[in-house]
């Protein structure tokens, strides 16, 4: 708290005053605005869009507030209280990146840990490249096992069976960890026996083009901030694939990963929550991952995420209607429906409606005000998130085109993926091609 406090307070005050300024400015603008709105359709449309705007601001404010509160939780452990941790690295055709990934694991700031690489029947040289590192590396002991191809969830389950650590860190074969990752995450699991897992912060490594930079901003603002807010309630709903630290006894209790959804990380998190466990978030446990550098690869990734999350919600749908078995879990599931289905649909709908109304009735002023205030809001939120996560300030300007271009494109893909999932159309994993920048 003492180390991080000032930075977080500055960031928080920045966003707070930006929002106050924004509200006052908008009020002044709208007070004098003369907009002739012909017909009740336009009035209703404007009302809908205004409602969307209010919802958006409220969502932002709640997430920012609770993520700020989550950041205040900052206690360290004495040196002798760090138990053995097992790091699991499932890898399927990750030959381009597996060595960089293992290299990053040999230099973690943690007293003792083991690394288990699970080659999931790769047809490339993943196993050969990983096997080079097998053996004792001082604080880290590396083992490489291989199995017939069966998917990430089965590979992780094989790793969990072979793990000797009290805590298990699951990551992706294409990710690299920050040296402080284990030390920062373990401190959440030691004092509280009810906490089953800690979700880490994922950051984009390959910031080589505009699309990758927009994703870097999205990871900081759209994913990590949301997880931080959920972490305050100990109800993180998705422990990201690239980094999650688990209590092994909790994984044993719920039977490890299932392989009946395309978002095994989300499914596992929901299983933990529905079994009464808590899940926290640690912003300084960081995994660096390769983000898709082309639009089609990005859509492929988001398509799988969306359908996988919907499948996981469907699996646990009974808890939607039984809040008495745990209000937190019910709320989490409803929130996931809101974020996964309603919000993208509403976003696309609002844009289409605005275009129609503006083109048909020439409502230019509200259109400009709408985008201006959204942009200011996005810039303020991006600034806050970048400051608290000590990210590069060069990401902030991307907020100008983040909502209008990036988020809208992704939301259109989410909308289609949702429709396909509701129609139960067939899908497969669609593995992304790795560039090998790790």
């Amino acid at each position: 708290m003492q180390r991080l406090g000032i930075r977080y307070w500055i960031g928080f005050l920045g966003i707070f005053f930006s929002l106050i300024g924004l509200s006052v400015g908008l009020f002044e603008l709208l007070k004098d605005a003369r907009v002739d709105l012909p017909g009740s359709f336009v009035n209703i449309s404007m009302l809908v869009l205004f409602g969307f705007l209010i919802l958006l601001v409220l969502r932002y404010l709640s997430l920012l507030w609770f993520s700020f509160l989550n950041h205040l939780d900052d206690e360290d452990l004495p040196e002798n209280e760090f138990p053995l941790v097992t790091i699991l690295v499932p890898a399927y055709n990750e030959g381009a990146v597996i060595q960089g990934s293992i290299e990053s694991l040999l230099h973690l700031d943690y007293p003792r840990y083991e690394v288990i690489v699970i080659d999931d029947g790769s047809s490339d040289d993943t196993y050969a490249k990983a096997a080079v590192y097998e053996g004792d590396h001082g604080r880290a002991d590396v083992r490489v096992i291989t199995k017939p191809n069966g998917g990430k969830s089965r590979a992780l389950n094989a790793g969990i069976e072979n793990a000797n650590g009290k805590f298990v860190l699951c990551m992706d074969g294409d990710s690299a960890l920050h040296p402080a990752t284990l030390r920062r995450a373990v401190r959440h699991l030691i004092p509280s026996e009810n906490v089953a897992a800690v979700a880490g912060s994922v950051k984009v490594l390959n910031r080589t083009n505009m699309l990758a930079n927009l994703q870097a901003l999205e990871y900081v603002e759209g994913l990590n901030m949301v997880r931080a807010a959920q972490g305050f309630f100990r109800l993180v709903n998705i422990i990201p694939g690239p980094i999650g630290l688990f209590r092994k006894s909790a994984l044993d209790e719920i039977g490890g990963y299932d392989h009946d959804t395309f978002a095994e990380d989300c499914d596992l998190t929901l299983k933990l929550l529905t079994h009464g466990w808590q899940v926290k978030f640690e912003p300084e446990s960081i995994a660096y991952t390769e983000a898709p550098e082309s639009l089609l690869d990005l859509l492929k990734q988001r398509y799988r995420w969306t359908r996988g999350i919907l499948q996981a919600i469907k699996k646990h749908k009974i808890r939607l209607l039984t809040p008495k078995d745990g209000v937190g879990v019910s709320f989490t599931l409803w929130y996931m429906i809101f974020e996964g289905i309603l919000w993208p649909s509403l976003n696309v709908f609002a844009h289409v409606l605005f275009i129609f109304v503006a083109a048909r009735y020439g409502t230019a002023l509200p259109l400009v005000l709408w985008f201006a205030q959204l942009t200011v809001l996005d810039l303020a939120a991006a600034l806050y998130c970048v400051v608290v996560e000590e990210e590069s300030l060069s990401l902030v300007p991307y907020a100008i085109c983040y909502r209008a271009f990036f988020a809208l494109t992704v939301d259109v893909a989410k909308l289609f993926a949702t429709i396909e999932e509701l129609l139960a159309l067939k899908m497969d994993w669609g593995k992304l091609e790795r560039i090998g920048r790790i």
């Binding site: 047809s123 040289d125 096997a131 291989t146 089609l296 275009i355 503006a358 400009v368 985008f371 939301d411």
Partner: protein, 67 residues
């Protein structure tokens, strides 16, 4: 000079173009996915004979098999 009409025109055109591009990109992604060669189940490893704990007699056999 009143900037509002110009700004609104830019916003309109760019939003419309983004939605169109998003829909077209999604169609392109689906098309590419359909044309992707399907994975065969009898793929053999290109580089090494795999070490499988259940098949190996001792822990050191991995090195011998991959030579």
């Amino acid at each position: 000079m009143d900037l509002i009409p110009y700004l609104s025109a830019v916003i309109l055109v760019s939003t419309l173009a983004t939605i169109l591009l998003a829909v077209l990109s999604y169609a392109a992604f689906k098309l590419r996915d359909k044309r992707r060669p399907k994975k065969t189940s009898d793929e053999t490893p290109l580089f090494f004979h795999r070490y499988r704990p259940e098949e190996a007699e001792g822990p050191s056999s991995a090195v011998d098999e991959t030579a």
